[in-house]
């Protein structure tokens, strides 16, 4: 697989939907520790809407296609992570405007815009124990893969690994945003549910392309 086409994207969204549904209880549990416990439900809802939209919209322009999915997600689950994921897809889609197939380079650009879009919306940066701590290393891994002319499968494999490592690395961080921030030092050592959702997103991309 040298490029990702629309049908591949549909598969990817199908895969993420399943993964989020399978991990619902796990995310609920993680978000219950220092949050309101809704993350499993909202991710399930968001990506169910994403997969449904992917199956129904017509656009050949993959940029528009992804942006519309983002907009559908924003409606589906307006929680923090629901909105941030939606923002990521909208901002990531924007940089793909006009493209009908995506190279490893495009995918790297997509994830950089995705991660930067979340940072801008969330007024945050790496190191604050958020989804960004999974997504920023993801984007970097994809940029490296593109530079080294890696295949899409290998690039997304690196990216998924980077996201998983990002989740681990964020454990010792102190939460600065959202409900977890109210817990101050008590958040240190706890796994961030948003970063976890970020890694699951990458798992979906990787699983779908490596099938």
């Amino acid at each position: 697989m040298d490029t990702i086409e629309k049908k591949d994207l549909i598969d990817i969204f199908g895969e993420i939907k399943i993964i989020m549904a399978n991990n619902r209880d796990n995310l609920i549990e993680l978000d219950s520790v220092m949050g309101d416990g809704d993350l499993g439900l909202t991710m399930e809802k968001s990506f169910a809407a994403a997969a449904e939209t992917a199956n129904t919209i017509e656009d050949a322009d993959l940029g528009k296609f992804i942006m519309k999915i983002g907009m559908a997600m924003a409606k589906a689950a307006p929680s923090t992570m629901g909105t941030l994921m939606a923002t990521g897809f909208m901002k990531g889609g924007k940089v793909l405007a006009g493209k009908e197939e995506l190279t490893i380079n495009d995918i790297a650009q997509f994830f950089r815009a995705f991660s930067d879009g979340i940072m801008a919306a969330g007024k945050t940066k790496p190191g604050n124990k958020t989804i960004v701590d999974a997504l920023d290393p993801t984007a970097t891994a994809l940029e490296n893969a593109a530079e080294n002319n890696k295949s899409i499968v290998d690039g997304l494999s690196d990216a998924y690994q980077a996201a998983l490592k990002g989740v681990e690395d964020s454990k010792p961080m102190k939460a600065q945003h959202g409900r977890a921030a109210y817990y101050q030092d008590k958040s240190i050592g706890v796994q961030d549910p948003g970063a976890t959702a970020g890694a699951l997103l990458l798992q979906g991309f990787y699983n779908a392309v490596s099938k």
Binding site: M71, A74, K75, P78, T80, T83, T87, H177, Y182
Partner: protein, 334 residues
């Protein structure tokens, strides 16, 4: 879970159906979406004021939609932000060309969605500005005011902004006074019992039969001290002293005091609290212009209360004194 409701998943929509049925002359919906509530009266050339936020806090948020206060409100699930999309629909419905002011509480999900709605509104050529209310002194230390949660004190920003907008003031002016109100109010609360999100079905935290938690948030966010239930006077002092020191409020100041019941605490207890507040303010030479005691920002059936103090100047006083009339709040000219 002892609630008078039907299916938990219909809690919010059935509540909204009831509200719309009860107040058909005052409220309506836009975009055919029950969760997009707007005032039945629209004034030409007036700045539109919108809020939005999770359900479970009545009269917050939609209860302040009405004459002299807000023009619209998007309504989220229990303790959940409404979507940017819903905020946009409300924005479109209430804009009369003079622009729209968002006033909402300082919570991550709400900020993200109102920011997104702002961008979307700009694409529709509606000018939108925001005031983010955050005044709970228990939620972040002085110097980090930007991190503070917005609680019952947001009532004052609604009231002041609404009165100013009624003068057909500009968007910038309405924003300025709303921000001034938000900047001059401080709040602290105490929780005695938890509340239950209907779809969750069990409390997100517990408090022993003899425990209270000072500084707890209206979604059960952790407070600053948990301990044995104290006397009313001691509880008031533990909340009021940090409030007074924070702004600070000093001799010669004139203020408005708001005691907000979280849901299950009766007015009898709130007035016992006010007795002590009045003593302390008298001792410190702080004058009280107007007292509000009741439920302004609740957590469904949570027991507990919060104290908010607004420091007044002539402008805020004049605006606070203006009449208002919503299905949940009425005030004649003071």
């Amino acid at each position: 879970m002892k609630k008078i409701m039907n299916k938990a998943e219909n809690f919010v929509d059935e509540m909204l159906e009831g509200i719309l049925a009860a107040h058909p002359k005052e409220l309506k919906i836009t975009n055919d979406d029950l969760r997009c509530i707007v005032s039945a009266n629209k004034t030409d050339k007036k700045v539109g004021i919108a809020t939005g936020g999770g359900s479970g806090h009545l009269p917050l948020f939609l209860g302040y939609v009405g004459d002299g206060m807000l023009d619209g409100c998007s309504v989220g699930g229990v303790f959940q932000s409404p979507s940017a999309d819903q905020m946009l629909e409300v924005t479109k419905a209430i804009d009369s060309g003079a622009g729209v002011l968002y006033i909402y509480g300082n919570y991550g999900g709400d900020i993200l969605n109102f920011d997104m709605a702002t961008e979307m509104a700009e694409m529709e050529d509606i000018k939108v500005v925001s005031v983010v209310a955050g005044e709970d002194v228990a939620s972040a230390p002085k110097g980090e005011e930007g991190k503070r949660r917005g609680v019952a004190g947001i009532f004052y920003a609604f009231k002041i902004a609404g009165a100013k907008a009624d003068e057909l003031a500009s968007l910038e002016e309405v924003q300025r006074v709303a921000q001034k109100a938000a900047d001059n109010v401080r709040t602290m609360g105490v929780a005695l019992t938890p509340c239950i999100v209907p779809e969750v079905g069990k409390p997100s935290f517990t408090l022993d039969e003899t425990e209270m938690e000072i500084g707890m948030g209206i979604h059960g966010e952790p407070g600053i001290r948990r301990g044995a239930l104290q006397s009313a006077d001691d509880i008031v002092d533990e909340m009021l002293f940090p409030i007074l020191e924070d702004l600070p409020y000093v001799e010669g100041d004139e203020v408005s005091v708001l005691i907000n019941g979280l849901g299950a605490t009766p007015k009898e207890e709130m007035y016992i609290m006010y007795r002590r507040i009045n003593q302390v303010l008298n001792e410190r030479g702080i004058t009280v212009f107007k007292v509000y005691i009741g439920e302004f920002a609740t957590s469904m059936e949570m027991a507990g209360a919060s104290i908010s103090i607004l420091k007044l100047d002539d402008e805020l006083k004049t605006l606070l004194a203006k009449p208002a009339h919503t299905p949940f709040f009425e005030q004649k000219q003071l």
